[in-house]
Symmetry: C2
């Protein structure tokens, strides 16, 4: 598509198609989930032959796996005052998702993790590696251990109902309304009493 005469260090031709495959795969997995996404469709989106997908990623499961590299990009929660923590969280996820939910890897993952063990396992990893530590740093380890799960439940519940199920009662709310409604709820979960 674009001119590419500028040869950046390692700019093999395969890198571009590999990237195109990944982009197409993310899109498909995101909108249709693992089972309904076909190698043929991904290849077609990427403008190449299905066998290329196999050459670069081995098989469907590994392609899927390559798709699931996720960085929640959580801000440093120790820098925010405790009482602003809930709204910071809600705002952070809303911001991520309001852009283009269809290619946010976290939603991709949610959609698949519900029926796919591999994806569910990856979800556990992400929670353990990113969410839990961030909350532990902000709240102290004991409290976080008991409450992090419920916080995740609330945030994922929002993602589920608004972006995957698209429940009208949730999609009609504005981001501001959601922030105003949900932040106090998360605050309540975090309150130690």
């Amino acid at each position: 598509m674009t001119r590419d005469t500028e040869t950046s260090t390692t700019d093999r031709r395969s890198d571009r198609t590999k990237a195109a495959i990944l982009r197409a795969a993310r899109e498909r997995f995101a909108t249709q989930g693992y089972e309904r996404t076909t190698i043929r469709a991904v290849a077609s989106d990427a403008g190449i032959d299905p066998s290329m997908v196999m050459r670069y990623f081995g098989n469907k499961a590994r392609l899927f796996d390559a798709t699931l590299t996720i960085d929640l990009r959580l801000p440093d929660l120790t820098a925010v005052p405790t009482d602003e923590l809930p709204q910071t969280l809600v705002r952070h996820f809303l911001k991520r998702w309001e852009g283009d939910p269809a290619d946010d890897a976290l939603l991709v993952l949610m959609r698949s993790a519900v029926t796919n063990e591999q994806a569910a396992a990856r979800m556990h990893e992400i929670f353990a590696a990113q969410v839990a530590p961030a909350l532990a740093a902000a709240l102290g380890p004991e409290l976080a251990a008991h409450r992090a799960g419920l916080v995740a439940a609330q945030l994922l519940g929002l993602g589920l109902t608004r972006y995957l199920l698209r429940l009208p009662a949730v999609t009609t709310l504005t981001p501001d309304e959601i922030e105003a409604g949900l932040a106090p709820a998360i605050q309540a979960v975090l309150d130690p009493n």
Copy 2:
């Protein structure tokens, strides 16, 4: 299995196998979702031939549809004091799910609704027909209209993380801990301020 010499009014032989198919289908759809559930597997579970499934239900989509008759069995929320409403809700859903999540139709539906339009539409119906009115009766229509979605998000978020994704941080909590942690959160969502 059981003796059935007592012929209750309309006890055709087909009714039993039809019921067996439905039971098997619920179980499969619940644990594997729509796509990964095969007619052959359902038939095998029910101990009959795949073609029987077609005879009774026409096709896979209609079998699925027959599976989705859901009654949340929400208690009469007007009978509970407003400040006990959240814990009543949390307890109600926990009770339903703690029994055998695998054959609770609501979880079946959630699992499928994430990738299946038909199921998602049914989810909308159930929310509109059961959750929204119950909350409207207890809270008044205006408040309910703005908050019911977030309440649903929180309850479904619980179901998602605990029973579908099985996040350790949530599965390790006891029902009592969940009730104690989540009820105040829902209360916060309902607080009009």
